[in-house]
């Protein structure tokens, strides 16, 4: 089973990620077990899926946090996708899910982010990291989570900006 980084440790990835459908999202067969479905599938099949406790959703970089909004805490897990690592929209989406919609569950980066983004992603509220690249060395990558341990500005991990904490 593939692994990922969650809360700073390497664990088994027990969730299956369903790719975006090319056809009608209502027609996608969502298997049993822990699955993370694309937003379009969730929207199309919400009536059936919302009765399940083992269904999460993932947002592509052009899908905004508001599309889940107040429903965020319905999900045990939400994914934010990086189509490419230079597409930084997920940083804002993650913060909005945590800070505006109070999401408490697992917030997972998926896709093509890179190790060197882990610290900033953690600061924005992401607590799980599933690299699309199967070659990613998680043992080494986990070190980047703590590239910094002091920060100027407020974020999810430290809501008080330095100017409110400076001795």
């Amino acid at each position: 089973m593939p692994k990922l980084i969650k809360d700073g440790v390497i664990v088994e990835n027990t969730w299956a990620l369903i790719a975006k459908p090319e056809g009608d999202a209502a027609e996608v067969a969502v298997p049993a077990g822990q699955v993370i479905v694309p937003l379009s599938v969730w929207v199309a099949q919400k009536a059936q899926l919302q009765t399940r406790a083992d269904v999460g959703v993932w947002l592509d970089s052009d899908e905004v946090a508001e599309s889940i909004g107040e429903e965020a805490n319905h999900f045990p897990i939400i994914g934010v996708n990086f189509p490419g690592f230079m597409d930084g929209r997920a940083f804002s989406t993650a913060r909005l899910l945590r800070e505006r919609y109070g999401f408490k569950g697992e917030l997972r980066a998926v896709g093509n982010f890179i190790r060197d983004q882990l610290c900033y992603l953690r600061r924005c509220g992401v607590n799980a990291f599933a690299f699309a690249n199967p070659e990613a060395d998680l043992e080494i990558a986990v070190k980047s989570l703590n590239d910094f341990n002091e920060y100027y500005q407020a974020s999810v991990d430290q809501p008080l900006p330095l100017f409110r904490r400076r001795a």
Partner: protein, 554 residues
């Protein structure tokens, strides 16, 4: 000026360690070039035509003598003995060795300097007025706010992978010397009659291939809301700015696409959620920041006596009086003056400075200006707090060091990007054009008679030389492998900001001095007594200039 404390130092040290690790992984082949690219850019490192280029931030242009000596040391030990003052007040090294960059950054961190976010798709160094704190027309000193912005924007976790680069400028004077209307965000400090301090907020200005004057999205933003409002603007941009085309990714394109009114509404809606959060500035933090920019230990000086002394020296020396006229300006404190050291002598690339000259500037700063200096976006150096009674002695030392060229604000004080001699983006060389024009205008009395003329040169449409806002702007273009130069007239980066109009077909390098001479001749023949070049152009329009330069000899 601002002094790093243990927090600043600790954060910067972690950054240096992070980049050293990234560089080592790249050199070992563990970090692919396409992933290393944005990481090195966000530490100031470009790969240029001939070698890497390392850009070091000078936050809002403020630098002290200890830092200047370190910059000299870096130039001498890691580079070829010189560096370059950029058009965004930063310092650039043109010949560092990639493997030594972590060591350079470590040495710079010793004096609180770095290249963090000096490049890449992130929030860049905040720029400001080189006469901040001393200008006679200043309403509020912008530097404390610049420092607050510096801290907020440094290592901001949400905004390190924006659609494109992002530049903020702040001004606090009646006359805008920071060109705030051509920045992604421009902030103009406002003091209300009630004593309340805040900002007029411009957004979506910029140069580059699509030059735009910024739009006002808020007439008055209370000072304590500065960071939350900036965060709201950046978030709207991060989520909505275009990412499909790098040439359409700047915030100006987004603002124009949705209209400034709609953009302002989006920002206000976002800000509603955030404005009363922890990022709201406290009185204590604003006061703390202001505490770093208090007055140095000015002496109480009889201004009339000091001025009489200077006048007497000027009466004995025409050269000194010319320098006073162009390179020295008033100061809000009696008996003091602000002095600009010209980095634009003919024959030296505009803004270039040697290691030895840097050390002389450090010495001059220590001797004459409380140990501080400023870089300017016009690519000169300012000593902001010089006693009038010291001006003659300072001038003599400047002459020896090569800083006394009395040309500030004139046609030979050219803003010029490094161009095709160094930059891999450039379509054409810019430095030789600047030199040829300087040689055309070597008669100082004639140059003074012409008065203030902003002549700006960019080697490509990325516009690092700010050609759109020069009274005379020159843009290098490539036509089937040959270098040509397009001329624009009527630009301004001041309060009356405007973008220049393209005059017509471009010219070969060899005729450029002659073309500029003809343009100047049209001005001289048409001006009224009070008019500067830009005024005459605005009054008579482009036609007489076009006729002159495109007239056929036969």
């Amino acid at each position: 000026m601002y002094i790093y404390d243990e927090y600043d130092n600790s954060i910067l040290r972690q950054r240096v360690a992070q980049f050293r690790d990234q560089t080592e992984r790249f050199l070992a082949g563990d970090l692919p070039p396409e992933q290393f690219l944005p990481l090195r850019l966000q530490n100031g490192l470009y790969v240029q035509r001939l070698a890497p280029m390392l850009r070091i931030n000078v936050p809002y242009g403020m630098v002290n003598s200890v830092q200047i000596r370190k910059l000299a040391h870096i130039a001498r030990h890691y580079d070829k003995g010189y560096c370059h003052v950029s058009t965004r007040q930063n310092i650039q090294y043109n010949w560092p060795d990639l493997t030594e960059v972590p060591d350079i950054l470590s040495e710079l961190a010793d004096v609180g300097m770095h290249g963090t976010q000096s490049s890449g798709n992130c929030i860049r160094n905040t720029t400001s007025d080189q006469f901040a704190g001393v200008a006679e027309d200043e309403i509020i000193d912008p530097r404390p706010y610049c420092e607050i912005i510096r801290q907020w924007s440094s290592f901001h976790p949400e905004f390190a992978f924006l659609p494109r680069k992002f530049k903020i400028a702040v001004t606090g004077s009646e006359k805008d010397r920071a060109a705030v209307q051509v920045h992604d965000i421009g902030l103009q400090l406002i003091l209300k009659d009630s004593g309340e301090i805040g900002f007029k907020v411009y957004v979506g200005g910029g140069l580059g291939r699509t030059p735009v004057i910024g739009s006002v999205i808020r007439e008055f933003l209370p000072e304590e809301d500065l960071l939350s409002y900036l965060e709201a603007i950046l978030r709207v941009y991060n989520l909505s700015g275009r990412r499909d085309n790098k040439y359409k990714a700047r915030i100006k394109i987004l603002v124009r696409a949705v209209t400034p009114e709609v953009f302002a509404q989006k920002v206000e809606a976002e800000w509603e959620h955030m404005k009363d959060g922890y990022s709201k500035l406290t009185r204590a933090e604003i006061e703390r920041a202001k505490g770093f920019f208090t007055e140095p230990a000015y002496e109480t000086i009889d201004n009339a006596a000091a001025q009489a002394g200077v006048d007497a020296q000027a009466a004995d020396s025409i050269a000194f009086s010319k320098w006073l006229q162009r390179n020295v300006r008033g100061h809000r404190v009696a008996g003091y003056a602000a002095v600009t050291l010209s980095l634009k002598p003919t024959g030296v690339a505009p803004g270039d400075i040697t290691d030895g000259q840097l050390e002389i500037i450090a010495d001059l700063a220590d001797e004459f200006s409380f140990g501080e200096a400023r870089t300017t976006h016009e690519q000169n150096i300012v000593l902001a707090d010089v006693k009038k009674s010291d001006l003659f002695a300072l001038w003599q030392k400047c002459k020896v060091a090569g800083f006394a060229t009395p040309n500030i604000g004139t046609i030979t004080d050219i803003i010029c990007c490094p161009g095709g001699d160094f930059c891999s983006l450039a379509n054409a060389k810019s430095i030789p054009i600047a030199e040829a024009i300087q040689r055309q205008f070597e008669d100082l009395d004639y140059v003074y008679d012409l008065g203030d003329i902003d002549l700006n040169i960019s080697g490509c449409m990325n516009a690092c030389g700010h050609h759109h806002v020069g009274h005379i702007g020159i843009l290098g273009v490539d036509k089937s492998g040959k270098e040509f130069y397009q001329v624009q007239l009527g630009g301004s980066a001041s309060n009356d900001a405007s973008l220049g109009d393209v005059l017509g077909p471009s010219f070969g390098a060899e005729v450029m001095p002659e073309v500029i001479q003809k343009l100047v001749n049209v001005y001289v023949e048409n001006r009224t007594d009070e008019e500067l070049f830009i005024d005459t152009y605005r009054r008579i329009g482009a036609a007489p200039f076009k006729e002159r330069v495109y007239a056929k000899a036969n």
